[in-house]
Symmetry: C2
C-alpha cells in the first residue's frame, strides 16, 4: 500500500473518533505537496474538517496551491466565501489566479469583493493577460535593486526582506525608470567586493521574455539556457515579474500531457480521476468526428462491394492494411510533432523531415509488404493476392509516412497547433487511400484472383 | 526564416571565403545552446572548422555539452582523440558521462587512457552506476560545510570557490563523517547572523535521494516539492553529489518523449533527424510485431468468410469497428499511462481507473453505436445491420476502455514499464474481439441480414 493510503486511513480513523489533536499533529507532519493524493481518498465532509484543521495551522493557502485542479471543486464547496477569500489573500498572484480560474463566474465575483482592495486590483489586472501567456504564471514578488546600489547595500536589502523567501535566486538590476538592465545571481552578489556597484558585476545580456509571450516558449527558453528564473518585462523593458523554474517544470509537464493527449484526441481536463460523466462529455465530440472519419473508409469499401462479392478473401486483409497504415502514420506524426514541441525543427527543416519519413515509410512498406504478401500467398494459395497486398502495403506505408510528417508541418505553417487533430486527418486519409489502393488493385487483377 | 538558419548561412559564407576572424566573432556571439541547430545545417567539414574556432575560444566543451545526441557522432568524427580527451577533461562528471555514452567502445577506451588519472578514475567509478540511476546525472561539484561552521565562515568558503559557479543554490551541511545533516539555501545564509553556526539555521528534514534511485523518481521529487537541487547520498547517508533542476528538466523532457514514443511503438533513438536507415532499423521489430498483430485480426475475419460470402455488406463496416475500437483503447491507455508517469495513481486506485474507463467506454459505445447503427440502417436499407453494428460497437468500446486501462495497471503491478508494448496488446485484442463480435453477430442474424 502506498504511504499516502496508510496516512489517509489513519487520518480518517482519527477524524471519526474525534481525536482532533492527534489528527492535527499527523497533518502537521505531511508536506503540502503530499496532501493532494490524501484528499483524493477523503469524503467531502472529511475534506471540510481537514481544511478546518489546516486553517488552524495557517497552512490552507499552501495546501490549496498544491492540490491537483480536479480536486479543487469539492474542496471549494467545503469552504465558505469568507474562508476562501482569506486563503486567496495569502497567496501570490500566480497561485491566486490559478485557483480563481477554477471558480464559476458568480463565486469568482463574490470572492473578489471580499478581497482587500489592492489584492482585488492586482487580480483584475493580471486576469487581463491572455490565457497561456507568461503574465499568467509570473510572480510579482522579486527583488530588484538600482544599478548604482553596492553589493553590500543589495545584501542588506535582501536581509530586510526577512527569511520568508528562500527561493530568491537572482537580484534584478533596474534603471531609474524600472527598465531591466541585468541580473545578479545571489551567489555572485555574495562573492562580490562589498563596495562595488551592482551595475558593474551584473550579467548584462540577461535572457528575458515579454509578458504576452506564450508560456511554452518561455519554458523552452528556461530549459534551453538552463535558467533558474526568467524576468518578464513589458514592451518598454520595464520589469513586471519573474517566472521561476518550478513553474516552468509545471508548464513543461502540462505541455507534455497536452501533446500526448492531443495525439489520442483527448481534452486535457479529461484526467484519470475526473468523474466518468466529464470524461464522456469531453470525448464525445472527438468520438463523433472519428466516427465520421471511419465512415469515409467504410464508404471506400462500399465502392468495391461488387469486387468483394466476387472475391471475399480480399476482405480478410482489410484489417492488415488499416492496422499497418494507421500505425505507420502515427509513428511519423509522433516523431515530427514531438520534435516541434521541443523546438527542434522549423519549416524548412520540416520539409526535410517529410522527405525522410516518406523514405522510411517506403522502406518499411517494402519489408512489411513482402512479408504480408508472402503470408497472404501461402494462406490463400494464390500468388496474385500476395502481389496485391504487397503493392498496396508499400503505397499505404509511404502515404502514412508522408502524411504523418506533412500534416503537422503544414498545420504549423498555418499557425495551427500541429498536435491537435493531426491524428484523425492522417489516419483517415491513410485508411481510406490504403483501402482504395488495395481494393482497386484487387479489382484490376480480379480475373487472376478468382 | 529562423534566426539560426540566417546565422548558418552567414557562417558558411564566412568559412568559404576564409574570413576566419569574422567567423570567430560571429561564433563568439552565439550562446552554446544555440549552436546545436546551427550544427545541424553544416557539413562535416564545416563542423570541423567551427569546432577548431571554438577550441580557440575555449568553448568546445560547453558546446559539445549542449549538442543534441544525434549530432554527436559526426562531431566526434571531426575531432582527433587528443582534442576529444581535452574536451572531456574540462567537463563535469555528468556531462562527461553523457558524451562518453555516445562513443563506441574502442574509442571510449582510447579516450580514457588519454585523460588525467583522477578524471579517468572518476569516470570509471561513475560508469558503474546503473543506467537511468541518479548517480548518472548528479554532479559532484557542490558546496558542503561542517555543521559547526558559522554563517560568516560559510560565506567566505563560497567566496573562495571563485565566481565560476553562479549556479550554487544551496550549501549542504555534513557531519564529521560526511553524512548529510541538512541544507542551507544561499539566500538564508546571506540573511543569517554572521556568527550563527550553520547547523542552527539549516533545513533539517531536507529531501534527498539515493544514488541508485531511478532518475524519473528523483525528477518527480524535485517537481513535487518545488526544489532547485536535490542532494544524492549513498546508503549510509554520505553526500555524494547533487542533481540540479536543469538536469531534472532534461530528465522530465526525455521521459515525456519516451512515454509519447512508447505509445506509438518508437525507440527513443529514432529522432526527427536521425538518418533514415537508423529509423527504419529501429522501427522494423515493432512493425513486424504489429504485422503479426493485424494478422490476428485478419484470421478472425477469415473465420467468417462464409458469412461475408453471403452478405458482403458486412465487410463495409469492418473499418468502422476497427477505427473506433482502436481509438477508444488508445484514449483509455493514454489517460492511465500518463497518470502513472506523473505518479498520480497506485495499484488500488489503478483498479478504480479501470472501472471508470469501462463505464466511459460503455457510455461512448452506446452513443457511437446508436449513431453508427442508424447510418448503417439508412445506408443498407436493413435495420438488422444497424442492430448488429450498434451492439458490436458497444461491446468493442467497452472492451477498449477495459483493456486500455487494465493492461498498463497489470503491467505495472508486474513491475514492467506500463507504456511499453501496451498499445499493441490493447489494439490487437480490441480489433480481433471487436471483429469477432461484429461478424459473429452477423452470422447469428444471417437470415435477417440477407
Amino acid at each position: 500500500m502506498a504511504p499516502t493510503e496508510v496516512t489517509a486511513r489513519i487520518l480518517r480513523r482519527l477524524l471519526a473518533s474525534g481525536v482532533t489533536s492527534r489528527a492535527e499533529r499527523l497533518l502537521a507532519r505531511v508536506h503540502p505537496a503530499d496532501l493532494g493524493p490524501l484528499f483524493a481518498d477523503l469524503t467531502p465532509d472529511e475534506i471540510r474538517r481537514v481544511v478546518d484543521l489546516l486553517f488552524g495551522q495557517h497552512r490552507a493557502a499552501n495546501t490549496l496551491r498544491e492540490l491537483p485542479p480536479e480536486l479543487l471543486p469539492q474542496v471549494f464547496e467545503a469552504l465558505s466565501d469568507e474562508r476562501l477569500a482569506a486563503v486567496f489573500g495569502r497567496l501570490e498572484i500566480d497561485d491566486m489566479m490559478e485557483l480563481a480560474d477554477q471558480l464559476d463566474e458568480e463565486r469568482h465575483d463574490r470572492i473578489l469583493t471580499l478581497l482587500p482592495a489592492h489584492k482585488r486590483e492586482e487580480l483584475r489586472k493580471h486576469e487581463l493577460y491572455p490565457e497561456d501567456s507568461a503574465g499568467r504564471v509570473m510572480t510579482t514578488s522579486f527583488l530588484s535593486v538600482d544599478e548604482k546600489m553596492t553589493a553590500q547595500e543589495a545584501i542588506e536589502h535582501i536581509r530586510a526582506f526577512g527569511e520568508e523567501s528562500d527561493a530568491v535566486l537572482y537580484v534584478y538590476v533596474v534603471d531609474g525608470a524600472g527598465r531591466l538592465q541585468g541580473t545578479v545571481p545571489i551567489r555572485r552578489l555574495v562573492a562580490a567586493r562589498p563596495d562595488r556597484p551592482c551595475g558593474e558585476f551584473m550579467i548584462r545580456e540577461a535572457i528575458s521574455a515579454r509578458v504576452d509571450a506564450d508560456q511554452e516558449e518561455v519554458a523552452q527558453l528556461v530549459a534551453r539556457y538552463n535558467l533558474l528564473a526568467i524576468p518578464i518585462t513589458d514592451p518598454d523593458d520595464k520589469l513586471l515579474g519573474v517566472i521561476t523554474v518550478d513553474d516552468v517544470i509545471e508548464v513543461i509537464t502540462e505541455e507534455a500531457t497536452e501533446d500526448i493527449y492531443n495525439l489520442a484526441g483527448l481534452s486535457d481536463e479529461d484526467r484519470v480521476f475526473s468523474p466518468a460523466g466529464t470524461s464522456v462529455r469531453k470525448r464525445l465530440p472527438w468520438t463523433i468526428l472519428n466516427l465520421g472519419a471511419v465512415f469515409v473508409a467504410a464508404s471506400v469499401v462500399g465502392l468495391f462491394e461488387h469486387t468483394l462479392d466476387r472475391i471475399v478473401g480480399l476482405a480478410v486483409f482489410m484489417p492488415v492494411i488499416n492496422g499497418m497504415g494507421g500505425n505507420g502514420g502515427v509513428q511519423a506524426l509522433t516523431v515530427v510533432t514531438r520534435a516541434m514541441a521541443l523546438g527542434e525543427i522549423e519549416f524548412s527543416s520540416g520539409l526535410r523531415a517529410v522527405g525522410k519519413e516518406l523514405m522510411v515509410g517506403l522502406a518499411i512498406g517494402l519489408v512489411a509488404g513482402l512479408l504480408a504478401g508472402g503470408v497472404a500467398w501461402l494462406w490463400q494459395g494464390n500468388p496474385w493476392i500476395g502481389v496485391v497486398l504487397a503493392v498496396a502495403m508499400v503505397i499505404t506505408m509511404a502515404t502514412a509516412g508522408l502524411l504523418g510528417a506533412a500534416v503537422p508541418v503544414v498545420l504549423k505553417a498555418l499557425r495551427q497547433d500541429p498536435a491537435l487533430g493531426s491524428g484523425v486527418v492522417v489516419v483517415t486519409i491513410t485508411d481510406a487511400f490504403g483501402l482504395f489502393c488495395f481494393l482497386g488493385l484487387g479489382t484490376l487483377l480480379l480475373d487472376r484472383l478468382v
